[in-house]
Symmetry: C2
Subunit: 204 residues, 2 copies
Amino acid sequence: MIQQYPSALLENAVNEFAKLPGIGRKTALRLVLYILRQDPSFAENLGEAIIQLRKEVKYCSVCHNISDAETCSLCSDPSRDASTVCVVENVREVMAVENTRQFRGMYHVLGGIISPMDGIGPSDLQIESLIQRVASGQIKEIILALSATMEGDTTNAYIFRHLAPYNIKISVIARGVSIGDELEYADEITLGRSIINRTLYNES
Amino acid sequence: MIQQYPSALLENAVNEFAKLPGIGRKTALRLVLYILRQDPSFAENLGEAIIQLRKEVKYCSVCHNISDAETCSLCSDPSRDASTVCVVENVREVMAVENTRQFRGMYHVLGGIISPMDGIGPSDLQIESLIQRVASGQIKEIILALSATMEGDTTNAYIFRHLAPYNIKISVIARGVSIGDELEYADEITLGRSIINRTLYNES
């Protein structure tokens, strides 16, 4: 389809928006026209927020989570249990685990998972720094909380192999039938796992 | 749901993105994290494109389309027929009509349609300037190309009433069964209209 934009400024803004994942040219144009209908401060605030974030973003020197300071608010919170570290892929999973209010330990953000298909190997992730954290001696348990996918399993196995020499507990989050799910719709592998890893009724 | 962002900069960027139509907080976070993974120039380009567009956008003094100059490229094109003006809602419809390559006249961009529900009345739109364009005498035909909705019909009627005193042709784009559509699925009103406004077979 031919698309003749009546203005180079408009075309440029549409092009930049359309580079974002899940945003096609039609959506980009709709967003840009929406911005044009708003107060000038709207565009100013959005544009500045994007530029400032990318320019001033920091990553916590301990857990590598996105942070405003040298050490993030979680790592510098003395009420949290520094002996238990939950290993996650990204900041989104930190927020997801925090929202459960079931975990009071620390985190370690890998920044991704091992995915040969996408060219992401162990050296692209914060695995070496995790090993160093464990080697420093304070950690008693590592909880691996990665996606239940092949990439997640590969990353779990890699981390497990490299942490095996250290005398710590390494656990993986439970996999089973989701709460609220009807059993007949659960896939065989999940259902099989949930039978093998069954828990005592009075403990659940 | 509680959502504790680990960084105020991150939260601010997510908030600004989530103000855009059709973008919720989860999508906003996904977009922001995508931007963080890109080269710093990516955020710089996107942010600047948004700010610059809003700051420097111009509207054509003749047709009110978005433009880089005082007069847009369509209005200043001497090869186009200035005696026929196609009235559209927005820049998107200008682009849509241009893409058909079936029209070589000029445009008039209303900037919306009359919609009492949204508090948009005739005075919020470029209708007065359309009447002035017609009054200046050069225009022979006005083609109303608005949406086939109640708001579009109301706007058509309003414009028709105000242009009636001038001795010009006023037409509305054809409404009928879309090309490629199966007749049994066409709605009754569209099908009824398409029978009333039938065209001679050798003219179609």
